[in-house]
Amino acid sequence: MIPAKFDYIKVGSVSEAINMLEKHGDEAKILAGGHSLIPAMKLRLSRPEMLIDISGISGMDTISEDDDEIVVGANCTHSAIASSELVNSQLNILAQTAKCIGDIQVRNRGTIGGSLAHADPASDYPATILACDAKIEVEGKSGKRTIDATDFFLGIFTTALTEDELITAIRFPKVVNGSYHKFFQSASRFAVVGVAAVKEGDSVKVGVTGVSGTPYRATAVENAYDGTSSAASHAVDDVDVMSDHFAGEEYRSHLAKVMVKKALEA
């Protein structure tokens, strides 16, 4: 399979990428790892006329500590995140999440920024981004801004990014007690349900992916949390639960409760 014709440019800076996005509008796509985009282009589900390769932008593939925060560059691959000592020691939940994405080859090429911008409803990072209250740093023609994780995901493959913006980094608070729990779709390795839980004192923050078209914070679970796992029964309260040939609505709703229970008990 060969994608439709397109032009390709490898940019050396964020501003160059923004200029290209501005120039080409919705005919352009950002290419990071390409592991969602290229298959979609081969299947002709996506036919961008211009690919802007951002993998060569220096400084966008680093992981650093900034006081109480860990800053992960958008171009960090899943395998770089999974093997980072800093992430493993200060933000272990993110390492857990990165380790269960796809397979070795996919983790070697796919990036956190690409995955978030793509916003596949069955991708793993959204649950963890939400539970950690991470902030997504983006840059566009009108400058830099920071988007709260809870405001970032708007729907299936839809985010708060505007046409001329790209993600530059993700800023996480350090997390002591957090874990990610995933029920794998056995062929694709995507999440049928993925639940991230971050515990702080008597409270918990719960992020859920795979269940709805938009990943969400399970606020009903958080409000009902009493230190036990009984709040898991609220996992899909007021949630529009997806149904597909891997998991119907009833099954997926039940599975969400089971996975939230596991996360609360962890």
Binding site: G34, G102, D103, Q105, V106, R109, R189
Partner: protein, 154 residues
């Protein structure tokens, strides 16, 4: 677009269309047909090569993305007529039946053993998550990689 790629230690320069995948470039321009194309959408792993030492699916990489990189394909594993220990181990343990998935299995094994020289059976099985063998010969593939680890570790 002109690219220069080091493949199996040898530098190659070609003018390629941006939409040509690395797998196609290897097979059709360089005649390196050991890199197989199965699903062509990054699911099956038959096209696995290493790019700068890390396993990657060549069907889901554009040739232009590896400009300036070092690529190793299955053809680059044997040295001076001597099979690589991973290849020897596959031969000795009957690690292949039809052989279609084998180049990808071997190239993924390179990555598994690079990061974990003494993998357990479970770690090998997890490492092969992105490689399908439709003969379902996984048992001997896992055994081959365990044996390869022993050979490499001496």
């Amino acid at each position: 677009m002109n690219i220069t790629v080091t493949i199996n230690g040898e530098e190659h320069s070609h003018d390629v269309e941006p939409r040509i995948s690395l797998a196609q470039y290897l097979r059709e321009t360089l005649d390196l047909t050991g890199t197989h194309i199965g699903c062509d959408t990054s699911g099956c792993g038959a096209c696995t090569v290493t790019v700068d030492g890390a396993a990657a699916k060549a069907c889901t990489l554009l040739a232009v993305q590896v400009d300036g990189c070092e690529v190793t394909t299955i053809e680059g594993m044997a040295q001076n007529g001597q099979m690589h220990p991973i290849q020897e181990a596959f031969k000795e343990n009957h690690g292949l039946q039809c052989g279609f998935c084998t180049p990808g299995m071997v190239m993924t094994a390179v990555d598994i053993l690079k990061n974990n020289p003494n993998p357990s059976e479970e770690e090998i099985r997890h490492g092969l998550e992105g490689n399908f063998c439709r003969c379902t010969g996984y048992h001997n593939i896992v055994k081959s990689i365990q044996h390869a680890a022993e050979k490499i570790n001496g």
